[in-house]
């Protein structure tokens, strides 16, 4: 029992941390930094625990929670995401006097959900973990509750989210019944024998739709731009990476592990969805004049690239999953970085994120502009940044898989070229245009700077020396 407790320790620490945050807020009201400090402490402790576990796999609660390299990897990734978000958010929220305590607590709860996603071995736990990660998202989307856009985004996100949750859930239940077990590996075994019945096909369709919504794949992506644009910028940063990472873990567990026997069914559909997703995301992003919304569409495109890895994985290439996991990390850092940059630009309420607002920033705030350039180049996929290696990794997997996956890879690189246009256009405004009048004032502050720096370090490090991450990922996959 005691070692079970040890196994669960990270999860428990996060949840306790969340409650601690709330208490700290009651003890010392209207002190914005206390909750953040507590939250960061909790995160630190969790990280320490995860590292100390060192990816040695151990199971708890009758095997419904299996700690291991994968949990460690996702946990640490989630911790960095939440940490960066917590570093960049306070200034922004304070300026619009929204509290940070709830944010910190809710983020921690979501992190707990993500950890469970990583650790879950059966459908039921998986689903509950997913909800624990997603539902806080609805709250966060509407976090700026006095702001019509924020609440509008929240309503859209919530309604569509719960609609898709119901669909996903229905699929899960039917699958659970058809397989006669909730355990993912059990399902895989059960499906391996006997061919797909109509009911199973429908269940698969329900699950595909539900999870496609969570990762924001076309044509289930509509919520993304509105929810992202409406949310407070730092929170958009979190929403664009956190839930996405979790959703892809869900995809890996459901499709690559449980539904592997049905790969011949879902791969073609995934290929079509992936192609549509990256193309639409990029094409529409081309036409956006609001950087925040543009990044929302670009995140759709990145979903498409990630799906390439899933397809490859479905075709039996372990490199596919590895690629997806690596990509999530790279994407987390570079995209958070980009939003951190936008956050910095919105120092005072009412500051917009129009492309024209960025004009000439390179002159006024060279450091900030250079950081932004790094993130944008990484999103474009220019070496030697994380984004480049991530793309390479999934494409390599696709090439290995061969067949439709290779065609998908070609579509992906062509899309990358399209994407280059709108990312580079931002750089054009940053460096090649004359400063806009009145010049926007950039929010400074140690925490924000730390957040930006963290993201930047991650973005560059993963590009220059990807080896440690690759090895971690490969270990995470080793059964």
């Amino acid at each position: 029992m005691s070692n079970e407790l040890l196994t669960l320790a990270p999860l428990i620490t996060v949840i306790v941390g969340a409650i601690a945050v709330l208490i700290s807020d009651m003890v010392t009201p209207n002190r914005n930094h206390a909750p953040v400090a507590v939250a960061l402490a909790a995160l630190g402790a969790t990280a320490a625990l995860l590292i100390s576990q060192g990816g040695s796999s151990a199971s708890a609660l009758g095997g419904s929670y299996v700690a291991g390299p994968l949990v460690a990897y996702l946990g640490l990734l989630g911790i960095s995401i939440v940490a960066i978000t917590l570093l960049i958010a306070p200034a922004y929220l304070a300026a619009r006097n929204y509290p940070t305590a709830e944010l910190a607590a809710i983020l921690l709860f979501a992190l707990a959900g993500a950890i469970i996603l990583g650790a879950a071995t059966d459908l039921v736990t998986l689903f509950v973990g997913l909800e624990l990660m997603v539902i806080p998202g609805y709250v966060l989307a509407g976090y700026a509750k006095r702001d019509p856009l924020s609440t509008e985004g929240a309503v859209k996100y919530f309604l569509l989210g719960s609609f898709s949750s119901a669909i996903l859930l229905f699929g899960i239940v039917v699958l659970w019944g058809a397989a006669g077990t909730a355990s993912l590996s059990g399902i895989a075994m059960a499906l391996a024998s006997g061919n797909a019945s109509a009911g199973l096909a429908v269940a698969l369709a329900l699950i595909t739709t539900g999870s496609a919504f969570k990762i924001a794949a076309v044509p289930f992506h509509y919520w993304t731009p509105d929810a992202y644009q409406g949310s407070p910028t730092p929170i958009t940063g979190y929403l664009s990476v956190g839930p996405k990472v979790g959703a892809f873990v869900l995809l890996i567990k459901l499709f690559v592990i449980a539904l592997a026997p049905l790969a011949s069914l879902w791969i073609p559909v995934m290929v079509v969805l992936a192609a549509a997703t990256m193309t639409l995301g990029n094409l529409v992003a081309l036409t956006q004049s609001n950087v925040k919304r543009m990044l929302a569409y670009s995140s759709i495109a990145h979903t498409g690239y990630l799906m390439v890895g899933i397809v490859a994985a479905g075709a039996g290439q372990a490199a596919g999953i590895a690629g997806v996991l690596f990509y999530t990390a790279a994407y987390a850092f570079m995209n958070l970085g980009a939003f951190a940059f936008l956050t910095a630009l919105q120092g005072r309420p009412g500051a917009t994120t129009q492309l024209s607002d960025l004009a000439g920033l390179g002159r006024k705030h060279p450091r900030m502009a250079i950081l932004a350039a790094i993130f944008l180049l990484s999103l474009t996929g220019i070496p030697p940044t994380a984004g480049f290696f991530a793309k390479t990794y999934v494409i390599l997997a696709a090439v290995q898989a061969g067949g439709p996956a290779t065609i998908l890879a070609v579509i992906a690189v062509l899309n990358a070229a399209i994407a280059a246009f709108y990312y580079l256009r931002v750089i054009v405004y940053l460096f090649m245009r004359d400063p806009a009048e009145p010049a926007i004032q950039v929010a400074e502050g140690p925490m924000l700077r730390a957040g930006l720096l963290l993201a930047a370090i991650g973005t560059v490090a993963l590009g220059l020396a990807p080896t440690p991450i690759i090895e971690a990922v490969v270990r995470a996959l080793a059964k």
Binding site: K156, L160, F163, A205, T209, Y222, P225, D226, L265, L280
Partner: protein, 649 residues
């Protein structure tokens, strides 16, 4: 470089031979570097360099012509220029009788023109630049005649082209010289394309461009049939360009925009002979193909009469001389074409001298009437500038082919051999041209020196300084004597004996057998005929232009109006060129430019536009209404389910 393939042993040149190239090169480099600071002293170094070169050249040329260097001449390899794989093209010097003949003309006229320029160019601000260019030209020309590798010949070929470009365009602040220079260079390039392709073909056939290797190969009969014809004609293209034969003759008259010494040196005495030299040098190659020979002869003789007919009506003194040069070069090619190699070279030499003389004389005239070139504004100058008049008269008699002056000997040999080798048509046309030459040359003399003066202000007219007259006098000597000196006794003078071994292989290939020269036989008759024709032309010319009787002239021209206009407008050939190449070429280029922007680049931009418009279209489906979004989710679900059911079967 010199390989065992060559039959006869080849001697080695004395060690100072490279100085022939280095001296002018140093002169050029030095003057180009510091010349502008030397002011009126700028000519000293270049002049000195050329005089020294002349001395050296004579010390090689005379023995070479006298057979002192042995039949195959002497060589000196210097260094490998371009090497690739098993191919390598080296720079080496070679001197034999043929080289000697050209050295004689090139260095002598060259040195005299340098001297002449000291006076002629004395008023020019970029005095120094002129001498720098002249030395550069001398270097290039000497390289051309001395090189033992065709690729080096080609290089020199281009370099003389460059010098000619620079010298024609010497007065660059005026528009015409710039245009003329450009025209000259480009027209030459047209010929050079053929030359270059010919060289490549030779490389493919012989694996080398070393002249002796190639010729040895040809003599060994490696190259026969159409291949020989094609290669020979490709090489000939180069000659046509450089020696301004029809249809690439258009640049030479315009080249008269350059200072007169340049016209004398480059466009009369030396560079334009390069084509003749090349064909002569490659004589076995041409001899290997009768068709090629025929075409060479045809083009030569056509150019001769074509140019002469134009010279009839030109009123610019230098242009008359220019067309006469074309005509005389035509003679030489006709000679080469019929296989009369030695007469061709003979005429090259004599023509070099008397045409140089004539040009320098015309320069002196122009100098005298400060810059005027229109003969209609001259007349009656013989009293004012007697030396110029006397020397030019000698030149005219020489070119007219009246014995015993230089022109007579060489021209007569050409016509005679043409007839004897059975090219009667060449002979006939040649006779006519001989007459025409005499006529238009005396027309020139008449309009310039005789009759009443038409100069607007006589007081200015003055004889040129000694630096200009001395060269005239010096050149007059060979114009009188060199024919006899080299050509007598008939058919085995010094030159004939010197050159015979060089052209022996070619003659063998053509199966020419030389029967003894007979004064009281066919040769005597032919000589008589040509002299008669020349005399007739002279008499008509003198009678018509002795003193201005423009009345009778205009009546003549009235009767022949169309012919007159045609000749005056150079038979409209430049207009044709302008139409075909300049206008049409520009149209093509513009069409391609349009294609590049609209089609090639248009496609690129089109793709971009298409992409962004696609984005704008897709943008519309984001309506902002939750239920629309949900609906697409629902239909998406149905579609996916259908897909699965189908796939599952």
């Amino acid at each position: 470089m010199i390989t065992a393939e060559t039959a006869v042993a080849i001697g080695t040149l004395p060690g100072y031979a490279p100085l022939l190239l280095l001296l002018p090169l140093i002169g050029f480099a030095f003057t180009a570097a510091v010349g502008r600071r030397l002011g009126k002293m700028a000519h000293l170094v270049p002049l000195g360099a050329i005089v020294a070169t002349w001395a050296l050249a004579m010390s090689l040329a005379i023995p070479a012509l006298a057979g002192g260097l042995g039949e195959a001449g002497a060589s000196m390899p210097l260094f490998t220029w371009i090497a690739s794989g098993d191919l390598s093209f080296g720079l080496g010097l070679h001197v034999d009788a043929l080289t000697g003949a050209l050295l004689l003309v090139v260095t002598t006229v060259g040195a005299l023109v340098h001297l002449y320029s000291v006076g002629y160019m004395s008023h020019d601000d970029s005095y120094w630049r002129f001498f720098a260019y002249l030395n550069l030209f001398m270097f290039s020309m000497l390289l051309l005649v001395l090189a033992d590798n065709l690729l080096v010949v080609f290089a020199a070929w281009e370099l003389v082209g460059l010098s000619s470009y620079l010298l024609i365009g010497f007065w660059y602040t005026k528009t015409a010289p710039g245009l003329a220079a450009k025209k000259a260079f480009i027209t030459n390039r047209v010929g050079d394309v053929g030359f270059a392709l010919g060289l490549m073909a030779l490389v493919v056939v012989f694996g080398s461009l070393d002249i002796h290797t190639v010729l040895a190969g040809v003599e060994a009969g490696v190259l026969v049939g159409p291949a020989a014809t094609v290669i020979a004609l490709l090489i000939f293209c180069g000659a046509v360009g450089k020696s301004a034969q029809f249809p690439l003759h258009v640049w030479l008259p315009d080249a008269m925009e350059g200072p007169t010494p340049v016209s004398a040196l480059i466009h009369a005495a030396t560079m334009v002979n390069a084509g003749v030299y090349l064909v002569a040098r490659m004589s076995p190659l041409f001899a290997a193909s009768h068709d090629a020979m025929l075409i060479v002869a045809a083009i030569g003789i056509f150019t001769a009469i074509f140019a002469a007919s134009i010279a009839f009506t030109q009123t610019d003194i230098k242009r008359v001389l220019a067309f006469s040069t074309l005509s005389q070069l035509g003679y030489m090619f006709a000679a080469l074409g019929v296989g009369a190699w030695i007469p061709a070279i003979f005429h090259l030499i004599t023509h070099g001298f008397f045409k140089g003389l004539l040009f320098l004389g015309s320069g002196s005239v122009i100098h005298a009437v400060d810059g005027e070139q229109e003969m209609t504004k001259m007349g009656g100058l013989w009293r004012k500038i007697p030396i110029t008049y006397a020397t030019m008269l000698i030149g005219t008699v020489a070119i007219a082919g009246l014995p015993p002056l230089a022109g007579f000997w060489s021209k007569d040999e050409i016509l005679g051999e043409a007839f004897k080798f059975g090219f009667t048509w060449v002979w006939l046309v040649g006779m006519v041209v001989a007459g025409m030459t005499a006529f238009y040359m005396f027309r020139l003399m008449g309009l310039t020196f005789w009759g009443k003066s038409r100069v607007h202000d006589e007081s200015h007219v003055h004889e040129s300084p000694w630096t200009m007259t001395v060269p005239l006098i010096i050149l007059a000597v060979p114009s009188i004597a060199i024919g006899a000196a080299l050509g007598f006794p008939f058919a085995n003078g010094i030159l004939a004996n010197g050159l015979e071994p060089i052209f022996h292989p070619a003659s063998v290939l053509l199966a020419h057998e030389h029967e003894a020269w007979t004064l009281f036989g066919i040769d005597g008759l032919l000589m008589l005929a040509s002299v008669t024709v020349a005399s007739i032309g002279t008499v008509i010319g003198v009678r018509l232009f002795r003193d201005d009787n423009s009345a009778s002239l205009s009546s003549v021209t009235k009767r022949l109006q169309p012919l007159y206009d045609g000749s005056r407008n150079r038979w409209y050939f430049d207009d044709l060129n302008d139409l075909v190449f300049v206008r049409f070429g520009r149209k093509v280029a513009n069409a391609l430019w349009w294609f590049d922007r609209r089609v090639v680049d248009g496609t690129v931009n089109g793709v971009a536009t298409l992409t962004s418009s696609g984005g704008r279209g897709l943008r519309q489906i984001q309506t902002g209404r939750v239920q629309n979004y949900a609906l697409s989710i629902a239909f998406g679900l149905v579609a996916i389910a259908a897909a699965y059911l189908v796939l599952a079967g």
